[in-house]
Amino acid sequence: MDESRPIFQQIAELIENDIIAGALPEATQVPSTNEFAAFHRINPATAGKGVNLLVDEGILYKKRGIGMFVAPGARDRLIAARRDRFSAQYITPLLAEAAKLGIEPEQLAAMITASPKGGAR
């Protein structure tokens, strides 16, 4: 876990990543709060806070007495939200580092075009 941010936000993000990657398809059940807590060795209340954050955002929904499920359309909505943040999160720091090293934006664009497709995953 990253030390600079609340754990519950990170739990929510991990679930989001699984939904985006397709590991948790729509309408499937997500692990229980206690399973998340045991797996990440965190307090169950904290894990619950992370799950509830996604329930509030409509990414997950609760089936009473059964558990949490991925909402229809969750993946598309998450991808749209991540795209909105992409520029601030990745492009801005990339440009800042490039400027520090004297790499012009045009050069940077050429480097991106020349780099192997798919990148290192």
């Binding site: 876990m1 990253d2 030390e3 600079s4 941010r5 609340p6 754990i7 519950f8 709060t33 206690n34 807590a37 045991a38 990440h40 060795r41 965190i42 307090n43 169950p44 209340a45 904290t46 806070k49 720091p93 800042a96 520090k100």
Partner: protein
């Protein structure tokens, strides 16, 4: 959120020494609270007073709404595992587990037996002969199997190996997930338990210096690293928690930075590093400031 225990203006003097100095806080029901601080900070004294094993010099102490002193209705709902718990001469671990239900109405004998197996505790060896780590394991088993609504663990794992500590954390998490109970954990191994804690109380020299939700504390401080002049310009006017440096480099820990301030630091060519709970505690309770500036 309701409080299972509350203290107000708690002070404990031993002669001229103020072991606990005007401390006020509440322990919330169903949470895992970390009681952190250096050796001799007053942690054990606070827990002893909360469990009715020591008397306050002044101040209010309420546990389950009442004074814990000589009050069996309160005491039977408490379990206090001390760092060096003593047992009667010639006791075997088996006898300790057998005595559990005499003190704890919620005692779970099956759970205790399972834990003894998990910790590989030799039940038939005399306690005088078991290793320091196994002695700690006995305390942990008693604390967990007591299923006491309010359980205190005071540095419960002296001599316990990394595997056994991990078993302790896993069993504790599983237990609180199943049946909510309030746990107060005093420890120096802060990095190991950071994810378990929901609330943090930090004491230093008898005084309470921090009373905060663990999630709030994450990101509540950041270390700014960079050329000394740039760092000094950035941190000017801020509360500085800690600083050190070497040569022309300075590394200064300051309080929470908002996104605009983070962007400002990045624009000034400064690096920001997160501060872990353990680092924060060390920086808030340490007095050394070392700066090598030749």
């Amino acid at each position: 959120m309701s409080a299972v225990a509350e203290v107000a203006g708690l002070t404990k003097r031993y002669g001229s020494l103020k072991a606990v100095d005007d401390v006020s806080f509440a322990i919330e029901t169903g949470k895992v609270t970390g009681l952190l601080g250096r050796n001799g900070a007053g942690k054990t004294t606070i827990m002893s007073i909360l469990t009715g094993q020591d008397f306050a010099t002044s101040g209010e102490v309420r546990v389950f709404g009442e004074s814990p002193v000589e009050h069996s209705a309160v005491l039977e709902r408490l379990c206090f595992i001390r760092e060096s718990q003593r047992y009667p001469e010639d006791f075997k671990a088996r006898h300790v587990l057998k005595a559990g239900p005499w003190f704890f109405p919620n005692w779970d004998a099956d759970y205790a037996a399972q834990l003894a197996e998990d910790f590989r505790l030799p039940l038939d060896r005399r306690i005088k002969k078991v290793s320091r780590g196994q002695l700690s394991a006995i305390g942990i088993i008693v604390g967990l199997a007591s299923r006491a609504p309010l359980t205190f663990f005071d540095e419960p794992y002296l001599g316990l190996d990394a595997t056994a500590r991990q078993i302790f954390y896993d069993r504790l998490l599983a237990d609180i997930a199943e049946q909510p109970r309030t746990v107060v954990l005093s420890t120096h191994l802060i990095d190991e338990v950071a994810g378990l804690l929901e609330h943090v109380l930090l004491v230093d020299q008898g005084r309470l210096v921090l009373d905060e939700d663990a999630d709030e504390l994450r990101g509540s401080a950041a270390t700014v690293v960079g050329p000394r002049a740039a760092v000094d310009a950035f941190v000017a006017g801020r509360e500085i928690i800690h600083r050190d440096g070497i040569g022309g480099l300075a590394s200064v820990t300051v309080g929470r930075l908002d996104p605009a301030e983070r962007a400002e630091a990045a624009a000034a060519g400064l690096e920001l590093a997160p501060v872990s709970l353990q680092q924060l505690v060390v920086r808030m309770t340490g007095s050394t400031e070392k700066e090598f500036d030749r």
